[in-house]
């Protein structure tokens, strides 16, 4: 069993490095490339604070997607905020003592797992049944949904059927944070759950999951509509 603990600890460190360095590298690249012309999709805010509000609405409310398709918005929003809540719920495995607000959201966090599954199934259904979305889907698009669905599903299985030793698990996780390798429970469902999470973390910087940092660098959303008031100069447009 100790071998598995070492393996998973190593993989977690590796995946974390890939995730952090990979995303930081992409963000660095995005920030270095100039945006030579003003191209906000108008009507657009004319001030920086207006732009911040626009990005906030995109990130929190999925404003543009809401305009586009109510079903995709529903499934997408429910999935993402289910994911957020489920992630926050998992903070209890990484904090000791558990932060009080993390304790408060524990019960809601369980429903978040169901919300994720609901949203993911809806999104997958569109990929299968809507001919336009089917046409644009690659194998990787299906696999990504399968991966996250399996993570959510294995999590729910552990909650309700194949319970794992959460006390030992928490010691393992707290150990990782202090660079100590503690024993990881050997339950198959847990190992699957964690293995898939490691997988997701590792592919983040080389997959479409880059939409998360990408949104903040999207010139059509992050530029203020003030080309007459301020002369925009960047990269190729800088003489």
């Amino acid at each position: 069993m100790y071998f598995v603990s070492i393996l998973y600890a190593g993989l977690f460190y590796l995946a974390t490095l890939i995730l952090v360095i990979g995303v930081a590298r992409k963000v660095y690249i995005y920030s270095r490339i100039p945006a030579p012309l003003k191209i906000p999709t108008t009507p657009a805010p004319t001030t920086k604070s207006g732009v911040a509000a626009r990005l906030f609405r995109e990130v929190v409310l999925f404003e543009s997607l809401f305009k586009a398709s109510k079903w995709t918005w529903l499934f997408g929003w429910v999935f993402h905020f289910g994911l957020l809540l489920a992630l926050l719920r998992h903070l209890r495995y990484f904090t000791d003592p558990v932060w009080s607000w993390v304790g408060v959201i524990q019960s809601a966090g369980v429903y978040a797992g169901y919300a994720m599954v609901f949203g993911l199934l809806g999104l997958w259904g569109r990929r299968i049944f809507v001919d336009r979305v089917k046409y644009i889907s690659s194998p990787s698009d299906h696999l990504m949904l399968a991966l996250i669905l399996a993570i959510a599903g294995s999590g729910l299985l552990m909650k309700y059927i194949f319970h794992t030793d959460v006390v030992t698990l928490k010691l393992f996780m707290l150990g990782l944070l202090q660079f100590q390798i503690k024993l990881l429970p050997g339950d198959p469902v847990l190992l699957i759950h964690l293995g898939l999470v490691i997988c997701l973390m590792s592919i983040f910087p080389i997959s479409k999951l880059l939409h998360a940092p990408g949104l903040f660098f999207s010139p059509t959303r992050n530029q203020a509509d003030n080309p007459r008031e301020r002369r925009h100069m960047s990269g190729g447009s800088r003489a």
């Binding site: 030579p36 997959s207 059509t220 002369r231």
Partner: protein, 498 residues
Amino acid sequence: MKKLEFDIPVITHYPKTPAVQPDAMAHCQPFIAKTEHQESLGFPGELVENWHDKAIEKMGELLGKYRSLQVFMDSCVKCGACTDKCHYFLGTADPKNMPVARQDLMRKVYRRYFTFAGKHFPKLVGAIDLTKEVLDDWYKYYHQCSECRRCSVYCPYGIDTAEITMAGREILASVGVGQKYSNEIIGKVFKIGNNLGLPEPALVDTLEGLEEEVKEDTDVDVRFPVDQKGADVLLVTPSADFFAEPHVDGLIGYAKVFHQAGISWTLSSHASEAANFGMFIGSQDNMQRVAMRVREAALELGVKRIIVGECGHAWRVAYSFWNTLIGPFDFLDPNYPAPQHICESTYDLIQQGALKFNKEENDDKVVTFHDSCNVSRASRMGTMPGGQFVIPRALIKASCNHFVDMRQETIHEGTFCCGGGGGLLTDDLLELRIKGALPRVQALHEVIEDHGVTHMAAICAICKSQFTKVLPSYGMGMDMIISVHQLVGDALELGKER
């Protein structure tokens, strides 16, 4: 006229999203630019031998030059939000006309050559080699996009297919496969000064003719000056305004407004064109070169203000790009420190009470308004976001008693392109233009049925030409489409005390 070899789309009671029909428009592409049209713009005359390497190299260059392109290549999650938003998809059902699929033509190649996943697991992520077939698809489908940005409104990451189309066209031109229509026109601008290739004497002659025409109609001496040094205002307008119908009635409208407001103005033979097809082909160099004529003309004539006539993409270039490309405009009157749209100028005059209207002149019309794509989604008028929707409608309402809007999701930021924008207003793409007009025509049809609309006003030379050409295919009169400033000019009370 040659018999059409395709079916005109049927106007249904409710707009429908079509089922995908792969390759429905695979036969459709514009003429390829001839050697001379390529070379005068600094591109190779024909497909270069090592086009594959050159194209990939160019793509790499553009990825490092435009943040939009790099971020948009990475960010798409294939959610499908854009799939039913493009007028060309709605009109043709070809799935490669869905914005995401149009982007994917390039994204698949980007993944193959520039990403880890695509280099090592191409099948998994849908990455493909750049073959001649792919290059041909680029040429076809990057010329079935009018760069109207409607998809960018609905994309949760703001991905703007126009940016990708422009990059695609620039790569194509750089390996020798430019589009004849756009490149030939840009060449004319450099050589003669305008898209239509109208030389100065012909321009002067045309404008004298207009002076006589207005005099006959109104008994007022409304002037159409050219190259008049010391005038306050330089008017830069699409050259179609000089003689195409219904554009010219808009030009008469501008002149009447200037006359009545007592504004001294002039056109320029050096910059006798507001359009800037450099934007359409994605070439910032050519766009800058075309735009520079305006700065040169303004300085040469010593004007205090610059006003841009009714033209959609020209207003995008003027509003969003001119300050960057040909600014700063520190030589202009500090009260008008930036180039203005003719609608902004007329609107201000109305607010000041400088213009009086006899709206009954337009009582034979029930008018609706077609928001131009580039004005709506890539620029602004006035000081408030959305002024580009309010101000033209205010002009129409000031000069007409009967105005109705079309269905909400087809106006303002959701407006449909006329089907002829982005360098596609050419007869070799007539099938695409007719089919692409369907969503707009559908919404127009509704207000004709429900409100008895007789005219659709527009503020774009391309929209006006396109609708004049395609409306008859749908059983509507070509004279339904008119300039906003025609309505203004017809209702304006001339010669009375100001």
